[in-house]
């Protein structure tokens, strides 16, 4: 079947679903595509291979020579840190490619960023080859959501081209950022972090959602203007990663006095390696009146077996705000540890009489507790009285 006929067949069925195949004003007819090379070279890119270009940028290094063990299992030399980010044509799957990768690292006193760009599909093997010197299992790779996304899509691209990718340790700043700030600033995209934590303002920023279309536009037209913003945005992202890491480092220096973070999240970040600091952070939160911090502190102490210290927290929360959670914890402790059945019973009854309790799911649990306590009370009465025969 000839193409003309085919097109008419397809269009007959499709026209009702779709306004027009081609947006008005966009000429898709065959034409000479100007090579993007001239514009790339003018803008500081260097040709590495056919369709593969590199751009090096030096900037001020925000990092100290050594980074702490706040985010990682142990301290590390800043020289071994590689900050990286990729720009892709979609959200994954075999049909989406990486077209821009950047690695930022310390060189001398400066922070050096190497961006590598692929200008068209056939250059992909050379593009992946060009990235290889920057990928090594010995280094630490710092990213934002790189563990779930960038590393995976890179792995797929290498695999599809018959190459292996051997990444080093992945330090993904997304997770600690969420821990510290989700309850403070809400959404924790890198853009939000830049705006609200790093206080960076971007002029003429490119929204991430537009990136694939801008790239396809660049690919088709060869017009560098289409991709210029994307490359600039990408460079800023990598610098932001280093700045963000230095923010974490400042936090690690004196976490207890910090106020504009989620103290519970901060404590959970500290717990594995610095449990005492974590507790101090929670104490500070408790003193500042944070219910969540107090609750975590109580649980932490309970887990450690320090029931008396925990009791102090529960009592405080119960007295000060009639916290149901604390009330229940207190009742548990009274019943099982202190064997003060009467007090436990009256506390349980009081809990059940709270208005707020009606909407809680804890009622059945509390009812069971009440019945059990009443049985215990009854048994105590019969045992202390002389009605029943001795059963010992």
């Amino acid at each position: 079947m000839d193409l003309k006929n085919l097109r008419s067949r397809i269009d007959t069925i499709k026209k009702q679903d779709r306004p027009a195949a081609v947006p008005a004003g966009l000429d898709t007819g065959p034409r000479e595509i100007p090579p993007p090379e001239a514009a790339l070279l003018l803008n500081g890119w260097r040709r590495l291979a056919d369709m593969v270009y590199e751009k090096v940028t030096l900037s001020e290094n925000p990092l100290q020579p050594v980074i702490s063990d706040f985010l990682m299992p142990e301290q590390a030399d800043t020289a071994g840190l590689f900050f990286y980010d990729t720009e892709t044509t979609g959200l994954g799957g075999a049909g989406n490619i990486v077209f821009l990768t950047g690695f930022g690292f310390t060189e001398g006193d400066a922070f050096k960023t190497v961006q590598i760009m692929l200008t068209d599909f056939p250059g992909e093997p050379a593009f992946l080859e060009a990235m290889k010197p920057y990928i090594s299992p010995e280094r630490i790779y710092v990213s934002y959501n790189g563990r779930a996304f960038d590393a995976n899509i890179l792995k797929s691209r290498y695999a599809l081209n018959g190459m292996r990718l051997n990444f080093g340790y992945q330090l993904d700043l997304l997770y600690p950022s969420r821990r510290l700030w989700r309850n403070v600033i809400g959404s924790c995209s890198l853009g939000d972090i830049e705006e609200k934590i790093l206080k960076k303002e971007r002029e003429l920023d490119v929204p991430g959602a537009m990136v694939p279309d801008l790239y396809f536009d660049f690919m088709r037209s060869g017009d560098y203007a289409a991709i210029e913003g994307v490359a600039a945005h990408h460079l800023e992202d990598i610098k932001s990663l280093a700045e963000l890491l230095s923010v974490f480092e400042k936090i690690a220096e004196d976490p207890v006095r910090l106020t504009k973070v989620d103290r519970t999240g901060l404590a959970s970040q500290l717990t594995p390696r610095h449990p005492e600091t974590a507790e101090a952070v929670l104490e500070a939160g408790f003193k500042a009146g944070s219910f969540k911090a107090a609750k975590e502190l109580g649980l932490l102490r309970k887990r450690r077996g320090d029931y008396d210290a925990a009791r102090g927290i529960w009592e405080n929360l119960w007295e000060s705000r009639r916290s149901i959670f604390a009330g229940i914890e207190l009742a548990k402790q009274l019943e099982h540890r202190e064997k003060d059945i009467e007090k436990a019973h009256s506390l349980t009854c009081e809990l059940l009489s709270l208005d707020r309790i009606r909407i809680k799911l804890v009622i059945p649990e509390l009812e069971r507790r009440r019945v059990r306590l009443e049985l215990k009370l009854l048994r105590m009465v019969t045992r202390s009285g002389c009605i029943r025969r001795s059963d010992s």
């Binding site: 193409l3 994954g92 049909g95 599909f121 056939p122 396809f216």
Partner: protein, 771 residues
């Protein structure tokens, strides 16, 4: 007990006089063969422990062919040990080659689970190091990674392969580079639109396998259809060997065709299948005969099961201990598993099912199978009949006909039923709409070379088309996916169009989705003020919002139903070929079908009186598809006999013939009535003669038109048979439809019979005159 039952049936005068045919299929001895010598001893032990120490001949033949890397299609009836045909060679090979993998494809999740538990039984009994994982929409993400990396046998369905596995094939490298066998069970299910999609899915899979350097062997299994080898070779697009010499034994089988008595001979009304099947099932169950009843709809399943249970609920005898369950799609998987288990263990004696139990789900052997209505194809009938029957004992299957024309045709033609091959299945993988969708998915998976083979003949043109659309980029001799989207997400393998209208119940402020319907059908059934029946409940359409694909309905209680008057305009776009055959010119080609519903009739229940009209304002529906045209051309038998019809009757006659042909064609085509459409022209502007268009009701066509043009003789003969053997006087729903208009133009049925007799008689005569 069984012989006694057969005797009872034979002696029951009321029953016996309605039997149109009683076929006894003799018991068959098993044909056996030893296990091949080189099968791993541990596998021999596993099967010996399960009581299998030799193979049926067809199992042995399969094993040998598969060992020679031949693609195989196995066609043997239910309970003939089909699973072993592929499990034995696959397990043995995987055991000997620790890197090798196998992919199992089943059309439904239920069948996948069935296979998983069967394989678990075999593999886990001796702790064989062959990890088997079911990978479908229900697989938790925690299992997915280990399935991809460590799964030796992956069980999945075409939909998951299409949308989940292949678009992410770099994650499956280990599996895909080592896949040795691809098992496609129930291959006969992959016909029509679904089959055309699946063929393209297989094209994509083969392409990816080639990329990773693997060249898997295909092992397919099919129910008995007319062309299993042809269908399989069309789907896998390579040669295969047919294995259909069944070596398994079976008991004697009674197959009875039963036509319920006429209640009203003039209107052609018969006693209903629901009551008749329920009556028979009770008769069997009370005598301790394990029985399955097959129905055509989910509602009927529930209805018949509850009737049977009501009648058994007599506390004064033991009947209430007989357990009968309904089984259909829409039940929870756990509920289904419980019923299957009950049937196997004998705890449940009876089951009423939709065709959901027609497929190879293991429910053990039953004694009787009752089909409440013709299942739609001979091949399905044999599948359903196959549910009754064990290896050693006798069984009975009864087909109860409904008043539908297809049923009546089949019941009156036992020779047709028993004498010939079942229907053939058709697919058209090169349907451009389907192919275009899969070409996008394929390009997403791997770039296309300009000379890429194995994706249909139109590939180069379609690639150019997609480049113009802007989703592909042609550079460096290859077409690359250049779009941000994930194309597999928008392509569904099973529904006709992805644009379904959602039906929302708004009764008393409710806001619940009760169903969905494709857009073209919605225009004909869900127009404003239409009466819509859903699961036995009546609703009236408040508003059809075609732009937003929503239809709002409200519970109603009206004494009439509605019927849209559809104006079909059909235009021939391109005639591919045409020949004179069967006394008529038959052309095949591309057509444009425009459908517009302009008004609707209100028809009173029971009396079928027309009690009013309403207007419908909806945009017309356009479809580009394939059609077969019967042209009553000059100098053909059809033309001369058509000229003999009085002019005022011509329109009626041609209209009725059209619907008659449409009604019987599915018998030969392995499709549903709604899959084909018909349009009649008294004087067609293109051909200048009276003609009948029969078109494929799916955009682009699915091979039905091509299939139909091969069998016009049979279809026309069947149409003539149907009308001439129908006992009604003026036409009834079982043949040309009831005569609605009161007119004095004479008996149309007689007129049509005469027309057909002249046409086909003449055609035959002229055929005989040919040298």
């Amino acid at each position: 007990m069984f012989d006694e039952l057969i005797k009872t049936i034979k002696d029951d005068y009321d029953f016996k006089r309605n039997i149109t045919h009683w076929e006894i299929i003799k018991a068959r001895e098993g044909k056996y063969s030893d296990f091949p010598d080189d099968v791993d001893p541990i596998i021999l032990k596993i099967y010996a422990d399960r009581g299998i120490d030799r193979l049926y001949t067809h199992q042995k033949l399969c094993f040998d062919l598969i060992r020679e890397d031949r693609n195989v299609v196995v066609v043997t009836p239910t309970a003939s040990g089909k699973t072993l045909c592929y499990n034995l060679p696959v397990i043995d090979y995987l055991l000997k080659n620790p890197e090798a993998r196998a992919l199992y494809l089943f059309p439904t999740k239920a069948l996948s689970q069935d296979q998983q538990s069967e394989l678990n039984e075999v593999l886990l009994s001796e702790n064989l190091p062959i990890k088997t994982v079911t990978y479908d929409g229900d697989t938790p993400s925690s299992v997915r990674v280990s399935a991809r990396d460590g799964g030796r046998i992956i069980i999945t369905n075409p939909d998951m392969l299409h949308a989940g596995i292949m678009p992410n094939h770099p994650k499956w490298i280990k599996f895909l580079s080592n896949v040795k066998y691809i098992v496609i069970d129930e291959v006969h299910i992959y016909r029509g639109v679904f089959g055309s999609h699946v063929t393209n899915v297989i094209r994509r899979l083969k392409r990816i396998c080639r990329f990773y350097g693997s060249d898997p062997v295909f092992i397919c299994c099919s129910a008995t259809i007319g062309n299993p080898l042809e269908l399989t070779e069309k789907i896998i697009e390579t040669n295969a060997v047919l294995v259909d010499d069944n070596g398994s034994p079976s008991g004697e089988k009674h197959f009875i065709l039963y036509n319920p008595p006429l209640v009203d001979a003039v209107q052609g009304i018969r006693r209903g299948v629901v009551l008749e099947s329920q009556r028979l099932a009770l008769k069997f169950l009370k005598r301790g005969v394990k029985t399955i009843v097959f129905c055509r709809s989910r509602i009927r399943t529930e209805l018949i099961a509850s009737y049977i249970n009501d009648r058994l609920a007599n506390v004064f005898n033991d009947n209430h201990r007989i357990r009968v369950e309904a089984y259909r799609g829409g039940y929870l998987p756990s509920e289904r598993r419980e019923i299957e288990k009950g049937l196997r263990s004998g705890e449940i004696q009876g089951v009423v099912s939709t065709n959901a139990l027609e497929l190879g789900i293991d429910i053990g052997g039953l004694d009787a199978s009752i089909m409440a209505g013709f299942p739609g194809s001979i091949s399905s009938s044999w599948q359903q009949a196959g549910r009754a029957g064990r290896r050693a004992t006798s069984s009975v299957s009864i087909l109860i006909a409904s008043a539908a024309p297809v049923d009546q045709y089949v019941i009156e033609h036992p020779d047709y039923f028993f004498g010939r091959n079942p229907e053939s299945a058709w697919i058209d993988p090169d349907n451009i709409y389907i192919q275009l969708d899969h070409l996008k998915c394929a390009a997403f998976e791997l770039p296309f070379s300009e000379d890429d083979k194995g994706f249909g003949s139109q590939t180069p043109e379609l690639l150019v088309y997609l480049e113009e659309e802007g989703v592909l980029r042609n550079t460096g001799g290859k077409y690359y996916w250049a779009d941000r989207s994930y194309p597999a997400e928008t392509v569904s393998l099973r529904s006709a169009t992805s644009e379904n209208v959602v039906i929302i119940d708004e009764t008393k402020g409710r806001n619940a989705v009760i169903g969905e319907m494709d857009r073209p059908s919605a225009k004909e059934m869900l127009f404003n003020k239409a009466v819509y029946i859903h699961r036995g409940e009546q609703y009236q359409v408040k508003k059809l919002d075609i732009d937003n694909k929503k239809c709002f309905v409200e519970s109603s209680n009206l004494n009439y139903y509605t019927d849209a008057v559809v104006k079909t305009d059909i235009k021939l776009l391109e005639e591919d070929r045409s020949i004179v055959k069967s006394g008529v010119r038959i052309a095949e080609g591309d057509v444009l079908v425009r459908k517009q519903v302009t008004k609707f009739k209100k028809i009173k229940y029971r009396t079928h009186e027309n009690v009013g009209f309403g207007e419908i304002f909806l945009p017309e529906e356009e479809m580009h598809t394939r059609a077969v045209v019967f042209i009553f051309e000059e100098n053909t038998a059809s033309c001369s006999s058509f000229e003999n019809i009085p002019d005022e009757l011509k329109e009626h006659v041609i209209g009725r013939i059209g619907s008659l042909v449409k009604n019987v064609a599915p018998v030969f085509l392995l499709c549903e009535g709604r899959d084909i459409g018909v349009a009649e022209r008294l004087k067609d502007p293109h051909f200048g003669r009276a003609c009948i268009y029969i078109y494929d009701n799916y955009p682009g066509g699915t091979g039905l038109a091509e299939g139909l043009s091969r069998i016009t003789d049979e279809v026309l003969a069947a149409a003539f048979e149907r009308i001439s053997s129908c006992p009604c006087e003026y036409g009834c729903p079982s043949c040309i439809g009831p005569d609605e208009e009161e007119s004095d133009t004479g008996n149309k049925k007689e007129q049509i019979i005469t027309f057909f007799r002249e046409w086909l008689g003449e055609a035959k005569a002229s055929h005989a005159r040919l040298p």
